[in-house]
Subunit: 209 residues, 2 copies
């Protein structure tokens, strides 16, 4: 079974590999700004579907029809909902600093949309989409600590401008939910989708040891 991760996120790839799974990576040329939805929770699901569908289409076009095997495509998208707003990646260091001055001492909800598509002979034969939401409670870093954190570059790469692993770990006091979901991919959600497709973790390509 081929397994394709439709995401450029190194954190998602690392999560899968640490859990024993070696996906292929294909990044869709999707224009994310084209997609809108009534809420952050709806939006991450719409984007997860769009990313998976874009890569599934590319796979189908590349395939001349004589590839008989099954292919799983996983699309994911994450956003931090904070005071009703959806926060993606900060544009630059100044924005990351300004955001942290708002986030500190407060809480947000990290939403990740997950879409798992099953392709058979280049046709999408099944697809599941699931949302996972994890509540995040931020600590209260000082201005100096925020500057030092942003200077690491980590907050510039991620939705909501915070990392739960790495240097951001000092400033996330508490979460309620799946911590891998905060990184961008809930493993229990992926496992549930696999089971719903009649598959299991053991069907995914294993990291070679």
């Amino acid at each position: 079974m081929r397994f394709v991760l439709a995401s450029a996120s190194p954190a998602r790839l690392k999560t899968l590999r640490s859990a024993g799974v070696a996906p292929e990576v294909m990044v869709s040329g999707l224009d994310e700004d084209e997609i809108t939805a009534p809420s952050p929770a709806d939006l991450v699901q719409a984007l997860a579907i769009a990313k998976a569908a874009a890569v599934a289409t590319e796979l189908s076009m590349a395939d001349s029809g004589d590839v008989a095997g099954d292919v799983l495509v996983l699309g994911c998208d994450s956003l931090l909902e904070f005071r009703g707003e959806a926060l993606g990646k900060p544009a630059n260091a100044e924005e990351a600093v300004a955001r942290w001055k708002q986030l500190r001492g407060r809480g947000g909800m990290l939403h990740t949309g997950h879409t798992l598509m099953l392709l058979r002979n280049s046709e999408i034969v099944d697809a599941k989409t699931k949302l996972a939401s994890t509540e995040v409670r931020f600590g209260y870093p000082s201005d100096d600590e925020i500057d030092a954190y942003v200077a690491t570059g980590e907050p510039l790469q991620v939705a909501g401008a915070f990392t739960i692993d790495g240097h951001g770990g000092w400033f996330v006091d508490r979460i309620i939910g799946d911590h891998h979901n905060v990184v961008g991919l809930s493993l229990p959600v992926l496992r549930t989708m696999l089971i719903e497709l009649g598959l299991g973790i053991a069907d995914l390509p294993a990291v070679s040891t």
Copy 2:
């Protein structure tokens, strides 16, 4: 400022290093079975104190008195409280499998005791001890999934026979609290102890980049 981690745990070292801190590692020859306490939460704190004190004593003995600098020593100990019992590392693969058949679908509380001691001229001049407790809700792996997970060897190395990172991530549905605490070291707790000692993250030796 020297910073000594009084623990052999690779997960604790990795947590600190990912957060930008490069500790020295010194493992005490402490006989943990000698130490008892009325509850798992009390026990991890007693063990954290004992580990830090044992390493502080070794440092003082090694020091002939002419080392003027400050040294911070961090001791940690973790246990999973499950149905009133304290679970440490499983003795072998069979025990890990048996435990998982009890844990699945249920929840436990992962306690980590943290002690931070400040040595000045070989004397302990200040010490803080703090407990962090994170609720963990387990998924329901099948018997085959449990066998495959235990075969990775991961559950044999850790308190409670589960890893939240790595292969165990599939089977931890939800936590309430700090996820680094589950790995064995709460960064927000360490930061609070530093601040209480009049110090900060920036006083710790940084990972060289």
